[in-house]
Symmetry: C2
Subunit: 407 residues, 2 copies
């Protein structure tokens, strides 16, 4: 596998563009368009929140009931959630505007929104944005980067990644971008993620690969425990790499999944590390679990614990909070068998052994916890299963951002 | 029902004392002793965390396997959690020290600790504290207040309440104190709560009354979603009111439960309102639910949502976050039927009707949300069940307190 620069335009035949449409923000881009030169197989995973934003409902219809998709229109600033029938109508209007501008069917246009809940989107500005973007479409790496910037809300960095693998003698590229910083606790998928590939793969296998992979990637991220109304990951495959079409779970499928997993893991970690107000990416590994499910439950409980997150911000090896969060997770284990380590670029230290303190050096532990990527590793000594979850520290700035967000 | 001043010493025959034992803090009291002149029936509810502090295990043994209890020794500063066999031994040592000083059996002494997890308690100082407190025991109101102050950790105010009811022609008093500010998300019970009563009531009925009542009181409180290792509510009844003993679910039982419910609700709300760093008590009422369970799930999901809590801090009527938190709670409902109101001393305002904004005045909403006790009321129009949960806003100070707590 080769890691390359770029994002959604890295794969053959994919183009992107961005525009400043003044949906809510001024003086920055806030709309993105992704377009494939040929129709794509499309897969998607969506929020499990009972309250689903209008674009989620629109995309579910396209992904579940139509054979192809060819474009994605995304806006930031307003989420088009809790907007009733009027909001759903705007999804159709957006798709129709893009269909007209791109000369493709409206039912092959996916839409996505992110931002404030409860406001209606200004439809005329969305239409203007689509008209501006269509002639700007480009397959250059920079066009993908512009799109990745346009979908940011409270994100502080754009998030994109791309890799290449060889399948059936052909080079297959998988590239993606995502956004997400607050209201991040994906369940079935993350905030907004868009992954494109030139692999030839059946729609069924594409959906299967995505559904399997989000469980280990986006669904293992939590910034604040709040599962959004808009969470959407879309995966478009246009077949332009020319490999023999992947139609079953063979070696080619596994190679494709490896590439997809790399892209999704990298994007998921970028979301966690750029959590609202975060100063550090916080990774939690549970080892020695009886089952994957147990490891997932334990790692997610630790990574979402407000007290643990505040301790990480304070560079404080407050391991009691980690053990406490494991204890209330709902998973059973023997606290008196747990070993716990902290690890970062600055080193690795064993903090507790069989449930009690090793008498470690607090100074050494604080040094390890002062890096911008820190990992807690707990071995519960019950079996061979493991899981990794990603989150971030809890800081003053998280509160500041969210006390002020709408105003 | 008559609300009176006082706490754990309000009921007949109960005495209390406090001492500065320098367990961890300097220049303040950090140990409390509660004593009944005669043996009591004792009931308790305890944390459901798999990681249980040593005093929880000690108290479970006393409450479940012994007929009586007569004293409670509590320290703040160190939680005696994750301390292995050594920590459990210290519970026994503490009970024995109190037994000697009070001339009662060691297996009638309950113990409780709150503070940092993972440190061993300095046993000699605990013993000194017990020796200091025994001769200071007093039935005065002030003695109860001193005890309520001694058990505080990050609490900013002492928490006590007492009421009187008439049962069988006799005045029965129920009084209590509690502490709790962070790591508050009780499951089966709260942080530390101690309730005393002079009611004559069988041990079985006492436990039943407490177990039923914690579900609607302490278990409906969340400061930060972290269920502690030490959560304990103890209820001692010494029978000195002279009422005919309550031995079944009759009218007298219901009257006793009303008094108990008042005390537990008042204490639970005091914990929520004094959440770490909090500037406001945040109450969430769900009405029109199909079942109590559904109402509980929805109200707890809203009261624990970090984004909603940050919005309350910002006095921002960010109703989308409330609907979002209801949506990911796991309970089913129709978002397009929900009505939502905000209420406080400053008034009441309807924010959404049938899932969409009413076009309310933001200025008016902000005024209502600027009080130090604010309520969100959601009517989901499915039935008659309801539930109320209590929490607080999420502030810079929550982060500050918890990033610095151990240092």
């Amino acid at each position: 596998m080769k890691i390359i620069t770029g994002g959604v335009t890295a794969a053959k035949g994919f183009q992107a563009a961005a525009a400043a449409a003044e949906i809510k923000y001024k003086g920055r881009t806030d709309m993105a368009l992704i377009y494939s030169e040929v129709p794509c197989a499309a897969a998607g995973t969506f929020t499990t929140n009972v309250v689903k934003a209008a674009p989620v409902k629109w995309d579910q219809d396209i992904v579940y009931h139509h054979p192809h998709a060819q474009a994605v229109v995304c806006n930031s600033g307003i989420a088009n959630a809790c907007t009733g029938q009027e909001g759903y109508g705007y999804c159709r209007d957006t798709a129709e505007a893009a269909a007209l501008a791109l000369d493709i069917p409206a039912d092959s246009v996916l839409v996505a929104s992110t931002g404030v809940i409860g406001m209606q989107i200004p439809m005329e500005r969305i239409k203007d944005g689509v008209s501006k973007m269509a002639p700007l479409l480009s397959g250059e790496i920079e066009a993908g980067t512009e799109a990745a910037k346009a979908i940011m809300t409270t994100d502080t960095v754009k998030k994109e990644v791309a890799v290449q693998v060889e399948i059936g003698g052909k080079t297959v590229t998988v590239g993606g971008m995502c956004k997400g910083s607050g209201m991040i606790h994906p369940n079935m998928c993350t905030m907004l993620g868009f992954v494109t590939t030139d692999a030839a793969i059946s729609k069924e296998m594409l959906q299967q690969a995505l559904s399997e992979d989000v469980k280990d990637t986006y669904n293992m991220v939590s910034v604040d425990g709040d599962t959004s109304t808009n969470d959407t990951v879309l995966l478009l495959a246009n077949g332009m790499a020319g490999n023999p079409e992947i139609t079953k779970k063979d070696e080619a499928y596994e190679t494709f999944k490896e590439a997809l997993n790399y892209v999704n893991t990298a994007l998921a970690k970028k979301i966690a590390g750029d959590g609202e107000g975060a100063t550090a990416l916080f990774e939690v590994k549970i080892m020695g679990a009886e089952s994957k499910e147990q490891a997932v439950t334990l790692s997610k409980s630790v990574v979402t614990s407000s007290l643990t997150k505040a301790a990480i911000y304070g560079h404080d090896a407050n391991w009691g909070r980690i053990l406490c969060a494991m204890g209330y997770s709902g998973a059973q284990f023997d606290p008196e068998k747990v070993d716990l380590y902290f690890e970062s670029r600055a080193g690795k230290i064993k903090i507790i052994e069989n449930g009690v303190s090793t008498g470690y050096s607090e100074e050494e532990a604080t040094k390890i916890l002062s890096e911008d990527e820190v990992t807690a590793i707990a071995d519960i000594k019950m079996g061979d299963a493991e899981a990794t979850a990603w989150g971030c520290d809890l800081t003053y700035d998280y509160v500041k951002i969210n006390a002020d967000y709408r105003s």
